[in-house]
């Protein structure tokens, strides 16, 4: 089953994450960014994402959101009732790169777990590395 990667964020954070990832690994298929710009109605934002999901029956969706309980995150809560929509918060660049690279090679649930793990292990300060 095809897996889509959705990055949702405040402002242009999501699109700059996707742009930076393609700078490093080249353009990726089925990786899309949704940024909530100031002044945009939350319902419109939500509808756009839901339409994307609706139009792709029998596909999987891993959503990477910028902030736990942020507005972009909140607009995904209804969609998460579907079995094929998974969500990981706290997106950073290593998470996007890893998920984009592995999405066509791993079972969907393993991919979601991996995104979370990579996100956490990629956050580190020099002291942590040296003390290992």
């Amino acid at each position: 089953m095809k897996t889509n990667l959705l990055i949702v964020s405040h402002g242009s954070l999501a699109s700059s994450l996707v742009a930076t990832a393609s700078l490093i690994f080249g353009e990726q298929q089925n990786v899309v960014a949704y940024g909530l710009e100031p002044g945009v109605q939350l319902d419109d934002f939500k509808e756009k994402i839901e339409a994307y999901i609706r139009e792709r029956e029998n596909e999987n969706f891993l959503v990477l959101a910028d902030l736990l309980f942020g507005s972009p995150f909140n607009s995904l809560i209804a969609s998460m009732k579907q079995d094929n929509v998974y969500l990981v918060t706290g997106v950073n660049l290593p998470m996007v790169l890893e998920a984009a690279m592995q999405k066509d090679h791993l079972p969907f649930e393993s991919l979601c777990d991996l995104a979370k793990e990579i996100g956490k292990t990629s956050i580190t300060s020099k002291k942590d590395i040296l003390s290992k």
């Binding site: 964020s9 405040h10 402002g11 242009s12 954070l13 699109s15 700059s16 994450l17 742009a19 930076t20 700078l23 490093i24 100031p38 910028d66 902030l67 736990l68 942020g70 998460m80 998974y86 969500l87 990981v88 918060t89 706290g90 997106v91 950073n92 660049l93 290593p94 998470m95 790169l97 979601c112 777990d113 995104a115 979370k116 996100g119 956490k120 990629s122 956050i123 580190t124 300060s125 020099k126 002291k127 942590d128």
Partner: protein
């Protein structure tokens, strides 16, 4: 005592991250950005970063990813300069930095935002599943 914050990241990522954080925090201490674009001279970038850490005390540098050029350039300078370096920055970490917490030394601040960043990476579906099971 205030930390000097420098973001060294690929392309427009630092700028976008800062703009997103500013949707939550209106007033914050100044943050400097050195973007790393494809085709930039690595020597020149290294000089820019070196000049920053030489001119400022109490520096915390945050980068986008460990194996990326921005982080590698900064790591090299750690040999001769004292500053705190954190990689894998996400939005909640930057918000924490801007949130008036940067009154401590950059190393403690770095540690704090690492913890915060990891804490806020959550696989929601497993979390919800667990909660549902508890309710049943």
């Amino acid at each position: 005592m205030t930390c000097n914050i420098l973001m060294v990241m690929h392309g427009h990522y630092a700028e976008a991250l800062l703009k997103a954080a500013e949707m939550f925090i209106c007033e914050h201490p100044p943050v400097d950005i050195i973007p790393v674009e494809p085709g930039d001279s690595l020597d020149e970038l290294e000089n820019q970063i070196r000049s920053y850490v030489t001119r400022h005390d109490q520096v915390l540098i945050i980068t986008d990813m460990m194996a990326g050029t921005p982080n590698i350039l900064c790591s090299r300078l750690l040999k001769d300069h004292a500053f705190a370096l954190v990689c894998g920055t996400n939005l909640s970490m930057l918000i924490e930095v801007l949130n008036g917490e940067n009154t401590q030394n950059p190393w403690d601040l770095g540690k704090l935002i690492c913890e915060k960043g990891k804490e806020d990476i959550v696989f929601m579906n497993t979390l919800l599943k667990k909660e549902n099971q508890q309710e049943e």
